[in-house]
Symmetry: C2
Subunit: 339 residues, 2 copies
DNA sequence: CTGAAAGCGCTTACAG
DNA sequence: CTGAAAGCGCTTACAG
């Protein structure tokens, strides 16, 4: 099937390409009757504008890029969902790339998106990204950028985040309020800001409530996953620390711990209370169901695109745009892994 | 920052645009020294070809579309992962769209991808899609199509599937082999082929092993999710059917059932064995861990792109391409929810 | 080995 | 109200 062009419509109707183009775009300087004839013919031929040509002329692709550390991940897939739903409403398509938490790959993906001339980029930083040269490069091409969840304070762009420290504080406080006296923390890698912030929130909550902070109760979960949670829980048992509560950095790590306790016949929450973080689907499906902190992924995705859209629109109009930082609310969800 | 063009390089070097273009693409009819000069200057200026112009000339976008029912879904996100990893290797970008299991939306997404002139499309059919006019439309534009998991037999295109009937047969057989005598089935909606096939596999396994098929032991889980599994399990208990095994259409439904039994003090697998389907991450994290059938999402994504790539290449060369159907292996994974 | 020229299919400033 | 023309930035068949 030969693709239909403006030229073909023009020839069929015996008018110029210019007029056809303007008629289809409802320019005011085209007569009503001509518009009707053109639109009818376009419909009849099932005309679809050649986006390649439109892109070249308008210097816009109506496409945005999204870089996330991992696709197979409840939180990020929720973000993706929020983004593509919102983008669709505004007629934008979304190209998704993965960084696999690698700095090198993230750099490569940014470069791909620059080459592709996307109209904007949304991203959550890879754990191993320290340098931000690639983001500066992106911005030097005048491509609007929005960061979410894992951000860099060094980059001047819009950001959508939660208050990790506060959220972790409240999670820990929930354990304290329910009677825990000796609370361990399964923390994430040393690098990422949100791992640091959650740790600090935990520490602060202890201090504010008269519980001594003990660094030997902090276990490292490098990958914040199920296996890490299992390992940390087994180590905790070996250490015989007599802990009565755990605040885990993610639901996955918390789930690993619960699995270990279930196997060993240790009762959750009677013997030990467990608090997760994120409110992944998982947390309501395990036994006992997991108390956690809700992290609004879908909302974060939606807001990310909305902000990006605003910036793209401002850029198009040549209006200056002031980057914004939006902090989304989180809240503790009590289930059966805490008293 | 003004974008660098071939013209600029040509002017800087005092040669023609043609030669610059050819030098950068390593045409054999350009002198070595010119190539070197051009490449050096391109690098110095950080030249990036304008893809919009390249697309227009080559009529290729190096972009493919992907339509899935839901992004937030372990299986589909695994497929997405396989696809974008493979696409990246070949220099393709992936646009992801969601159908939300709706026929109308699926149609719209197909239309978007046609307009966008993607080089190819991969998709898993929405549950509510019966009509295939939109897929015919896609093919009439000569855009290669690969379907995976949920396919339509009416469309002549490459397909990547599993043998649902066989997989369900083996899952049921596993229950029988472990001693179950009265096995219920939590089935999916009546429409989708894979829901039908899994039901048929269940039925066939009973018949082949001398167990009577009893339609009152088949419970409908319209959305094949956690809530459906809970509902079905509660109904099953109410019905007092004295069942000693359940084959659930998905891990989610199985997980809902396990949660109900855990709450009611019914021992899994001692009182009742449960078999899931898909091997989502979830299934190893719950207590007891869930026996299931592994459904290779990542592999399916990889293969989907590979086949699509072959077809796109054939099309470009003008070589005829014969659609293939690939059936991926599945296997039973025994965990603690069965004896 | 180099380059002038046509053309991909649009959009839009401008002339009439 | 209509249309000729320029131009977006490439690629490539062709001439020299």
């Amino acid at each position: 099937m030969r693709e239909v062009t403006l030229k073909q419509i023009a020839e069929n109707l015996g008018i110029s390409i210019t007029t056809v183009s303007k008629a289809l775009k409802n320019y005011s300087d085209v007569s009503k009757s001509t518009k009707e004839r053109v639109k009818e013919e376009a419909k009849r031929l099932n005309y679809k504008p050649n986006v390649f040509a439109v892109n070249l002329r308008t210097k816009e692709s109506k496409t945005v890029g999204l870089i996330i550390p991992e696709v197979v991940h409840h939180f990020f897939s929720s973000v993706v969902n929020g983004i593509i739903e919102q983008a669709e409403k505004k007629g934008y398509l979304v190209i998704i790339l993965q960084s696999n938490e690698s700095y090198k790959l993230e750099k490569k993906q940014i470069d791909l998106l620059i080459r592709k001339r996307v109209d904007g980029v949304m991203m959550s930083l890879a754990n191993k990204s320290i340098d931000i040269a690639h983001l500066k490069e992106l911005q030097s091409h005048d491509i609007p950028l929005v960061m979410f969840d894992k951000i860099s304070k060094m980059v001047n762009c819009s950001k959508i985040i939660i208050n990790d420290r506060k959220a972790a504080y409240e999670a820990t406080k929930h354990l304290i309020d329910s009677g825990c006296k000796k609370i361990a923390h399964f923390r994430g890698a040393l690098q990422p800001q949100n791992s640091i912030d959650r740790f600090l929130g935990y520490k602060k909550a202890l201090e504010d409530h008269g519980l001594p902070y003990d660094s030997s109760l902090v276990y490292l979960c490098e990958n914040v996953d199920y296996e890490d949670g299992r390992r940390a829980a087994l180590q905790l048992l070996k250490d015989k620390k007599d802990v009565d509560g755990i605040f885990a950095i993610t639901d996955m790590a918390a789930t690993g711990a619960i699995a270990v306790f279930n196997e060993k016949g240790i009762k959750v929450p009677d013997d030990i209370s467990i608090m997760g973080f994120s409110n992944w689907f998982l947390s309501q499906a395990i036994t006992p169901s997991l108390s956690t902190v809700d992290q609004p992924g879908f909302e974060m995705g939606k807001k990310s695109f909305k902000l990006l859209y605003k910036e793209m629109k401002a850029k198009k109009k040549g209006v200056p745009f002031e980057p914004k930082t939006v902090v989304l609310d989180t809240y503790v969800i009590k289930r059966n892994s805490t008293k």
